[in-house]
Structures are given as C-alpha cells and as structure tokens.
Amino acid sequence: MSDHEDRRWLDEPRNVTRLVWALVAVCAGLLAADLFYHKHAHFAWEEWFGIYAFFGFIAFFFIVLAGKHLRKLLMRDEDYYDE
C-alpha cells in the first residue's frame, strides 16, 4: 500500500489547524464557564477566575520545558549501560 492511497483526514495540515482552533474555542468556553456558577472550593484562591485553566496551561508548559533542560544533565547514548 503506497503512502498516497493511505492519506487520511488528519494528514491534511489544514485539518490539524482546524482541530487546534476547535481546541482554542473549547478552552475559551471552559474559561467563560467560570462566570456562570458558584465554585465550592477548599481554598480561597480556587475561586479566582479561571485559576484552574491558567494553572493547567502554565504547569504543562513548565513541565515540558523543564524536561527539555533536564536532558542536558541526564541524557546519554541509548547504549550507555551496554558498553
């Protein structure tokens, strides 16, 4: 089977971009949802507008970039232990 015959919807970069914009819309909607209900929280800061959204975004960003820097320290050749 050649690669050409096996092209799917997701192989079209335009469609991936569409997905990303759909994701942005969903995220905006979830953020806006905070305006429409009363939060029951354990801590006062949990009631800040959109705190969970921002927390998730920043935490994820931090984890990935920290991991990237960790590589400088920890990464070795694949056969490091096999030498």
Binding site: D3, L10, H40, A53, G67
Partner: protein, 570 residues
C-alpha cells in the same frame, strides 16, 4: 462447594494450578489458564459470603498464622486483583511459552494470597513469592540485557523481603504479636517493615527498580508486573501505616519527580513505568492523610488505576508485539494500522488523566478532596500540578507519539483478537467506573458520602486538562516541544549500575594485586571470625544465651544485604 472453596488457602488454586500448566498443550492449555483465575474468583465469592475476621488459622512452630483475614480492605483488593489477573491471562493467552504462564499466574496468585495474610509471616512468604515468580516474566525475554535487569530486580525485591522478615522478628520480640494490623512508624521493627513496604511501593530513591525492570519484561509480562507488586505494597501501607504523616511529603514527591523523567523518556513502556510511579504517589498521599475519605480514595484509586494502567501497558504491548519497537522516536501514525488499539489506548489515557466520565475522575479526586479537607496547602498544589503532569505523559505523550504525530510509515496488522478482547474488557471497566461509580464506592472500606460529579469539579477539572492540552498544542505549533530522541536517561539506578561499580573498579585498578589479595585475606578473615563467633555465640556457646534473637536477625539481615550488594557490584 462454597464451604470447600472457602476452606482452601486463598488463591491456592492459582498458585498450585500454575505449576501444572507445562503439562498441558495447545487449546487445552489455553482453556486451563483462563479457568484458573475464574475458579479462584469462585473462591473469592465464597469469601465474600463469609463473616469478617480471621479464618484458616494454622499453628506452625508455636505461632498462629492467619491465611485468610477477611474484611472489606482485603476483599476489594482481592477482587480487583482477580479481574486484572483474568484479563491479563486473556491478553497473554496466545503466548506459547508455558513458563510465562506459570510465572504470571503464580505471581498474581501470590499477590492475591498476600492481601489475605492476617499475620506478618504469611505476608512475608507471599511477599517473597511475588518477587521470585515475577522475575521470570523478565527473564522470559531470554536476552543478556533481560537477565541482568532481572538480577537487579530480584536483588532489590528480595532485599525488601529480608527487611520485612527482620522487621517482623524485631517487632515480635518487642510486642509478642505477629498480627498484621495497624503498625505505625516509631519502633525499630515497624520502621524496618515500613522500609520494606517502601521499596515495593517505589518511594523516592527506592523507586528505580520499577523503571529499570518493567520495560524489560516480555510484552505480556509487563502487563502482569504493572499490577501486583506495587499495589500489594499500597495495600500493605494502607493496612499498616494509615495516617503516617511522613507519607504525605513522600507521596507528593512521588507524584512530581517522575513527570520530568517521563517527558524525556523515549521507551513508551518506560514512560508508563514513570507514570505508574506518579500514580502510586497519589495513593501514598491518601494513606498518609488517613481520613476515611482519603483511605476510600486510595483504595478506589488503586482499583481504577489497576484497570487503566493495565490497559495502557496492554496497548503499548500490542504496539511492541506488532511493530517490534516501542520507541517513540520510531513510532507514529499507527492509528491507521491499529485503530482499535488506538481507541483503547485513548480510553486508558483519558481515565488516567481523570477526564469526567472516565474512572480516574471519580477516584483520584477523592484523595485530592481529602487533602483539601485537611487544608494541606502544599500537598494540594503538588497533586494538582501532578495532575497536569499526568495529562502530559500518559494523557498525551503515550497515545500521541505511538498512534499519531508524524507517520512513521510502519504498516502492521491490528493487535491479535485475544489482546483486543482483554483491552476491550479493561476499557469497558474504565468507562463503567467513571459513569457509574456507585458499585465501586459500595466496595470501599468506609461509607462513601463523596460526590464526584459536581459542577465545580467537572468544570475545574476540564479547565485544568483542556488548557494543558492547549499548552501542548502551542508547544507543538511553535516547535518548542522537545523531539523524541533515542537515548538513555540517567536516574537513581546510575548509582548502583555505574557509580559504585566504578568506585570499586577504581580501587581495583589502583590497588591491583594488592586489592585481590586484600579480598582473599578479608574472605579468610571473615571465615575465621565466623567460626570463632559460632564457637562463642552459637547455640552451645558461652554468649549464645544472652543475645536477643531480634538484634541478631537484624544484623544477619544487614550483613546479607551488604554481601548481596558487594557480590552484585563485583
């Protein structure tokens, strides 16, 4: 019938039955291995019908051993162990290597028997059996690398057992009881036992055997391994150390540090091993908090976790089985060839990430809620941060780099039918628990008043997760997301795989022959000393009567452990 089953030692059907597997061949063997966990489940049904308390007590050398302590805690763990054991056998049923079936089923049986142990000696016996049976799932790969990994794994597992035994004896000397109930830290005996449990629960710095060994086992072996050892340790901690506050910072650390390793790890089964370590952290925190809600949360989360983690390991096993590799740098685009496996993997990923309607949502939140109820600010922040981390390594990285990302060009067959069946069963449970948590809640040790589906919980959880996904999209689009690379990442195991051997090797080079003769001399001296000690302190010796057995056992354990380490490093 049910009284007969109820009088057999727990899981003996699986443990003894496993030994007969090599006598059978072909279809008969397949039916037989599938029947073993089912028959054992019939026994479990009999146990559910029996009154709570100690059953099957036997006298051995003057000690009373309790083979079947029946209460809600032991029953719920035994139930989920049976479910996972059965589905793991289904997943492995195509394997022609009888040895793997023996190891897998005996290992699962030992895990089940251990949760019924009412005393520390019985616990010790099954604790060691899980170690010994499971190592064959690694060795079954039959490579030099697997052999060495298996040795490292076995040494650490056996060390945990030795500590458990030493702690048990010291504890018995101090209190006169072998009962395995709440122990709590604070005495030498209970501290040793805590340490023994901590090894199997993969506490920070004691964790590395897990990431080292699990990804090196066979395709089906890893599925078994992921289930029993660590969750047996969680059970044991919940039984013996509920409310031990040190577990809270230990657990939070466990949820956080593996995340960073998971980001940069290329072997997707090793990513899952780091993720497993992170999930154990949530449970350890729950045990440390120790309130009814926290302990319910720990047990519920262990239950849900056994299913989705098994499912994730199954899906990655299927990928390894079909493509021959599990490296993220070589995979991608597999949704075209293995669509069903991809769907099952995504269900597992959504469960572990705790999306609403999936199992993790209704269980992990109990633990986090209990932490919030106690106003443990830093633990709460830590667990919330770790939840975003779970989204990264298990929610996105696993399914994305195996099934999507760039198309690797690999075209293979969908996973075999038995694997799909097992994954389907696991996936159904993931969604079932997520949508109808009530039956699971009813099995928990304490009454559940917790309500998972509140507007606040659903919205804040979706915000956390979807904005984490958004961060992923931004990182991918901007090219900031680190590429998957073929690599080995150093972790704590470096100290005993490279650091210490190097230090010793350095000594050897410097000392040369002097070192060798030193070793010979030391060995001769030890022999001589032992003979002398025996003369003095042996049963007939002058000092023999004045030693406390407890401290002797402790020192023997320490010496054995030291010997083991030196032997391994040499």
């Amino acid at each position: 019938m049910s009284s007969l089953l109820g009088s057999l030692p727990p899981a003996s059907i699986m443990i003894v039955g496993a030994l007969l597997v090599p006598l059978l061949r072909g279809r008969v063997q397949t039916v037989y291995i599938l029947a073993l966990p089912l028959l054992s489940a019939l026994q479990l049904i009999a146990f559910f019908g029996m009154p709570e308390g100690a059953h099957q007590q036997v006298e051995l050398l003057g000690y009373t051993l309790t083979l079947a302590r029946i209460d809600k805690l032991s029953l719920v763990f035994a139930l989920i162990f049976h479910i996972v054991a059965f589905l793991s056998v289904v997943y492995a049923s195509h394997v022609k290597d009888s040895g793997q079936h023996v190891a897998g089923i005996a290992y699962a049986g030992a895990g089940i028997a251990a949760v019924f142990a009412g005393d520390l000696i019985t616990l010790f016996v099954y604790w060691e059996l899980t170690a010994i049976a499971s190592v064959f799932l690694i060795w079954a790969r039959r490579t030099e690398r697997a052999y060495r990994t298996g040795m490292r794994y076995l040494i650490i597992q056996v060390a945990s057992g030795v500590l458990l035994l030493a702690g048990t004896i010291v504890h018995y000397q101090a209190t006169g009881t072998l009962a395995f109930d709440h122990l709590g830290t604070g005495t030498l005996g209970t501290n040793l036992i805590f340490f023994a449990f901590g090894i199997k629960a993969a506490f920070p710095f004691l964790h590395n055997w897990l990431q080292d060994a699990y990804p090196e086992a066979t395709v089906t072996g890893t599925v078994f391994l992921s289930a029993f050892t660590t969750k047996l340790a969680i059970y044991a901690l919940a039984r013996g150390y509920a409310g031990t506050e040190i577990l809270i910072p230990l657990g939070v650390t466990m949820t956080i540090f593996p995340i960073f390793f998971a980001v940069i790890e290329n072997d997707l089964r090793r990513v899952l091993a780091y993720s497993l370590n992170n999930q154990l952290g949530f449970m350890v925190v729950g045990i440390g908090v120790g309130t009814e809600l926290a302990l319910n949360g720990t047990v519920a989360h262990a239950f849900a976790h056994l299913v989705y983690k098994g499912l994730l390991f199954m899906s990655m096993g299927a990928v390894l089985h079909r493509t021959g590799t599990i490296k993220a740098s070589e995979l991608g685009g597999l949704y075209k060839s293995m669509p069903l496996t991809a769907v099952f993997c995504i269900i597992g990923a959504m469960s572990i990430s705790a999306f609403p309607l999936f199992s993790g949502f209704v269980t992990k939140s109990m633990i986090i809620s209990a932490v919030g109820d106690q106003h443990l600010f830093w633990a709460f922040i830590g667990l919330t941060f770790a939840s975003a981390g779970v989204m990264e390594h298990s929610g996105i990285k696993i399914p994305f780099f195996a099934f999507f990302a760039h198309d690797s060009g690999i075209r293979c067959k969908e996973a075999p039918a038995n694997m799909l069946l097992a994954m389907g069963g696991m996936a159904a449970l993931c969604i079932g628990i997520g949508v109808f948590p009530a039956p699971l809640y009813a099995l928990l040790p304490y009454e559940v008043e917790y309500q998972a589906y509140t507007t606040t919980h659903v919205v804040t959880q979706l915000q956390l997760l979807m904005w984490a996904v958004l961060a992923f999209a931004v990182l991918m689009r901007t090219g900031l997301y680190p590429a998957e690379m073929r690599s080995t990442n150093l972790d704590f195991d470096w100290t005993y795989r490279r650091g210490l051997p190097r230090a010793l090797g350095g000594l050897e080079r410097v000392g040369g022959a002097a070192w060798a003769s030193l070793v010979r001399g030391a060995v001769a001296m030890v022999r001589g000393t032992v003979a002398q000690i025996y003369e003095l302190c042996g049963p007939t010796g002058l000092w023999g009567r004045t030693w406390s057995t407890g401290s002797t056992v402790l020192w023997v354990a320490v010496l054995l452990a030291a010997y083991l380490v030196v032997y391994y490093l040499r």
